[in-house]
Amino acid sequence: MRHRPQPLLIRVLMQPSRMVRLSEGDWDLLVQQARASGLLGRLDWLARQLGPNAPLPAAPRAHLRWAARKAECCHRETRYEITCLRQALRRAGVPLVLLKGAAYVHAGLNPVHGRFFEDVDIMVPRNRLAAVESALMLAGWAPTHLDAYDQRYYREWMHELPPMEHHQRGTTVDVHHNILPLSGRLRPSAALLLRAVVPWPKAGTEDVYTLSPPDMVLHSASHLFHDGELAYGLRDLSDLDLLLRQLSADPAFWDTLVKRADQLMLGRPLFYAITCLVSLLDTPVPSALRRRVEVFAPPPLQRSLMLALLQRGLRPQHPSCNGVDIRVARFALYVRSHWLKMPPLRLIRHLLRKAVAREVATPAPR
């Protein structure tokens, strides 16, 4: 394999103190790569860890601060959405279980830092979906994606309802009943996940839950390495990096994580996550644990191919990091994520529909 230096953004994420030694030209590239990858706000947090007197040039530093401010606004709004969702679900008698970004915001976990979240994701038991859906409608959320194909896509094949949008605030909630699609290759048990949920008393609300810490990691890993589209892959990998660094302060954490991966049959995504985290972001994973996740590795050929694709697919989405091999890798990973999501014929039909639908999206500038 031809040697290619890691992109600047990855080198800075791996070792944030590098920021004090960057030239003006480096900053120019770093801000561009980070903005394109959704990581500007994350860099703000990493820069703040360097202390108030770290010599960072004012002009690029401002861009990091601006992005962090947008993220904080998003967190304020998320907290308000959580309050509203909690009231709505209480009426249905279903406890509120938060997933992904909303869970990090509620629990105050490190991946919130500088991170912008599009919508709020929640999880409820599948047999309570109808009750939850009508409770949300009473509270002002309306279903979207009303055409028959989309309805069928979500309700029969996916692990979530079509996104529901609040008619006044315009905010979106995704109601999940599992963390991976029903029609997919990996089928973790929703009952196991829901049985392990945890409250966060410090957040001030006893009756709002998230998945258990190891399950949060596994969910994030599955999303990135199984069904995700890698559009913001590096950002999601950085989330996992911060999550693992924080949660592994508990000495029992790593052991629970591996056992739980086995139990939920999510060992493969965990293997990819650990391998990519160690090689790209230098996440401190004990070597004993790295050996333990080897049992989840695919056969050698598939392993080398996948790791080669991921090394490329996880690079920043910026022209400075592009190349034919990168584009091929991204496309291959895109196809793979769909391949794992549904059976071949249904997949072909689905991709055709998406290709046609894409012609009617994006806005014009004002």
Partner: protein, 305 residues
């Protein structure tokens, strides 16, 4: 060195190569493009602006050419494409709209209102309003009659002291307002027309040289006037309630929610400092007379008190 001193050939070379660095105080922009029409528009419209020589730019923008048949222009920031492509003859206005988006969507050191703003005697006249309300026409008229142009689209209120930072970029004129401005000031220099844009026919007016030269001078908000063009109506000013004016300005702000309590307090102070009015504009000449009287009287009042 100023853009206008660079020469067309060198400017085109930079646009196609290492990028054209523009010092659009308080921001820096690096622009890449192969469109010749965009290159000549930059020479014409930004002649008085200095070149940026540093290696860091706030926004690296590419206006990319796409397709041989029915050619299009694509706006890229950091390689990302936030908008649909537009027909190639809209390459230059696309740069202006895209740059507005870059500022309004990223910058958080200012409360940013969707409003035109001009300065006289250190006082800023803020004209909030959606596209089509007539703020650009009025802005052009004022900028050609002794007011200093700060911006026709984005009012930047500095967080630390609420003062207005100008941009003095070209003024975007649409449809009938093009003729209105040309009749009002035949000497005004306009960019070539782009037809059939989302806003109809668009031509941009070159910002007056003194406005560009005085960009570092801040202005203090003094008048808040909500304009509405009603051709044929009698031009008149009406006092607006402060609460209404506040809500109106808050709705026009791009980053009101992002700034939280800071944005609320800054906007409340700004509205408290200004006399809010609505202005029904029957004709541009009448509107200029009315605003002249308003700002002259309140200047005298301010001196008397």
């Amino acid at each position: 060195m100023l853009i206008g001193e660079l020469g067309g050939a060198e400017l085109r070379r930079r646009l196609r190569g290492e990028g054209l660095g523009l010092r659009l105080f308080p921001f820096t922009v690096r622009l890449y493009s192969r469109f010749r029409a965009l290159a000549s528009a930059m020479v014409q419209m930004y002649a008085d602006f200095p070149l940026a020589d540093g290696a860091f730019a706030d926004f690296s923008i590419t206006i990319r050419a796409r397709r041989w048949w029915k050619p299009q222009a694509v706006f890229e920031l950091d390689g990302q494409r936030p908008f649909w492509p537009l027909p190639a003859d809209q390459a230059y206005p696309m740069f202006e709209w895209g740059l507005n988006w870059c500022i309004a969507n990223h910058v958080q050191d200012y409360l940013i209102l969707h409003a035109a703003v001009l300065e006289r005697d250190g006082g800023a006249l803020i004209l909030p309003g959606p596209s089509g309300a007539g703020k650009s026409t009025l802005t052009a008229g004022l900028a050609l009659s002794g007011w200093r142009l700060l911006s026709d689209e984005l009012t930047l209120l500095r967080l630390e002291d609420g003062k207005v930072q100008g941009l003095a970029r070209p003024v975007s004129l649409k449809n009938e307002s093009i003729e209105v401005v040309r009749r009002f000031a035949p000497q005004a220099v306009l960019s070539p027309a782009s037809h059939n844009t989302a806003k109809g026919t668009v031509r941009l007016m070159v910002p007056p040289t003194p406005a560009v030269a005085r960009l570092v001078e801040l202005a203090t908000p003094r008048w808040l006037v909500v304009p509405q063009f009603e051709p044929g109506e009698k031009t008149r000013l009406q006092r607006l309630g402060r609460t209404y004016a506040f809500m109106n300005a808050a709705q026009s702000a791009f980053n009101y929610a992002e700034l939280g309590i800071t944005g609320f307090e800054l906007l409340a102070d700004t509205v408290a400092r200004c006399e809010p009015y609505s202005l029904t504009i029957g004709s541009l000449d009448q509107a200029l007379i009315v605003l002249d009287e308003l700002t002259a009287t309140s200047a005298t009042e301010a001196n008397a008190s």
